[in-house]
Amino acid sequence: MSVAFSEIYDHSVDTLVIGAGHAGLAASYCLTQRSIDHVVLERGEVANSWRHERWDSLKLFTPNWQAQLPGYGYSGNDPDGFMAVKDVIDFIDEYAVRNNAPIQTSTTVMAVSLTKTGYRVETNRGTWHCRSIVIASGACNSAVIPKFAESLPADIRQLSARDYRNPGQLKEGAVIVVGASATGLQLAEEIFRAGHAVTLATGEHVRLPRLYRGRDIQWWMHATGLLDEGLADIDDINRVRRLPSPQLVGSHRHDILDLNALTGLGIRLVGRWMAVNNDVAQFSGSLPNVCALADLKMNRLLNAIDQWVEETGRSDEFEPSHRFESTRIDELPCLGLNFEKENIQNVIWATGYRPDYSWLNVPVLDKKGWIKHQGGVADTPGMYVLGMPFLRCRKSSFIHGIEDDARFVTDHLDNYLKKEN
């Protein structure tokens, strides 16, 4: 639904929400429940980044039963399946329509600044004044690409995971996929199966088995309460917030996608890509250790699951405890690849994302460019953040985590508006 507005006069509203993805719409739902006057500004369409910034074959790695938003949830007949991108778009679209959310689409926020009474928000379609603001513009606005990417030979095709759609974009020849997140592993597999020689550069990563003792790992994380672990349970929150996504893929066969599966196919595993020197890509010699770290952390999680099963006396409900093969690596992993000799024609950067706050003229960013906040309450009065990794707890990083976060944040916002009145 669009909002009646004029492009000539400034507009006023109690609360502005920036972004009409799952987080912004969840905020809108909670604000409506509290009868807080608000408008959702969206640069494109509802679920815009799902429409324009994802690769074609992507599926969520959280099962359908976890597709839950405040007042809304998955209602299909395949709770253990995984949504494709178009399903996610439909899911979020339907939510927006159902809630009759006051969205103003095709409205790009150009600048947000402080005023005496709140915030001034300039857009390509007029200026807004609001007393409070919820920033739900996503954590994945820009691809993070190492500086040395500039010194690669000019004829190599470079794509970030944000711009990659399918193997049809690639030149013939070998490919280096950089990054061992869910994205990096999924793209490496897809590109290898399309007939390219693939090298996967692997720094620190999070190894998780899709299935353990006959259940999906997300089921375990939910049942054992790990998804509800909060800020107080975490030693170094900045580290946890920057972790790569776990090595999972959503597939009907519940395939385990790990480094062993990829090297089993014929993908070459190398260490983190550190530098380019004389047309040679140089990889870190720390590959054995980053794999050891990931294996150890995975086993620690599996131990915690086993312990939970033991303590709850439910061991007869599940398959027996077991451990997965340690990550296999070559005795002497490759440390350098010559682009020409190896016919490297393509590089895919799956090296992470960061939010883009170039429009935010409020001194609330930390030195890494992220909004400083305590569980979604930004370090400036009346500003809130939603849809960030580990915003308040582990599940904040996933779609279904937004419900608790949106309720918490809008509760705080409501109190703020009442206090300021």
Binding site: E204, N289, A292, L293, L296, N299, L332
Partner: protein, 186 residues
């Protein structure tokens, strides 16, 4: 060290380290350190390098004393063997760095170490430095470190300490990753 130890004591002051971490998070400028070594040629392949001062926490710092290290080549290369060879100093640095890390991480995790030993082996093909084969690199082709650790902890916990110490080791980083090196003269 205290005689009554029902608390972990690896001789590492973790509180001080955590305090430093917090302080340096607030003032990143103080975290900028500069390390220096001064080397003098003695004769032949023998040199002597001394280390005393460094910069950090915003000011000049000093070791307790000047430390001097002789480097030379072994007698099989017709040298006098007045000290270990320069690449062997890398092994000293790596073993020392990882071991210090293990003690610190164990202390932080409340794990009492009883003994820690490391044997380090590094392979080098001399056809590199002698210019016999340009496909062979000069330095070590690979380094293997083998720790033997006796600690009041499970095997997995010990493995995790060793992995974490690699993750946070300066020498491990410098050895495993490229570093820009600029050498000037006069």
């Amino acid at each position: 060290m205290s005689e009554i130890t029902n608390i972990t004591n690896n001789g590492v002051n973790v509180e001080a380290l955590l305090g430093a971490r917090e302080a340096l998070t607030e003032t990143p400028a103080a975290a900028q350190f500069n390390f220096r070594a001064n080397c003098t040629w003695v004769s032949g392949t023998h040199s002597s390098t001394s280390i005393e001062k460094f910069f950090g926490l915003g000011e000049e710092q000093s070791h307790r004393q000047v430390y001097t290290h002789d480097a030379d080549h072994p007698q099989i290369f017709a040298s006098e063997d007045n000290g270990i060879s320069p690449p062997e100093y890398i092994l000293v640095g790596l073993a020392g760095c990882l071991t210090a890390g293990i003690a610190s991480v164990a202390q932080h995790r409340g794990i009492q170490l009883n003994s820690v030993t490391a044997s380090v082996e590094a392979n080098m093909d001399l056809q590199g430095i002698l210019g016999i084969d340009s496909d062979v690199r000069n330095g070590f082709s690979n380094i293997n470190v083998h720790f033997k650790i006796d600690a009041d902890a499970s095997e997995e916990d010990i493995a995790a300490i060793v992995a974490q110490s690699q993750k946070r080791s300066a020498v491990f980083d410098n050895v495993t990753n490229p570093t820009n090196v600029t050498v000037k003269v006069n």
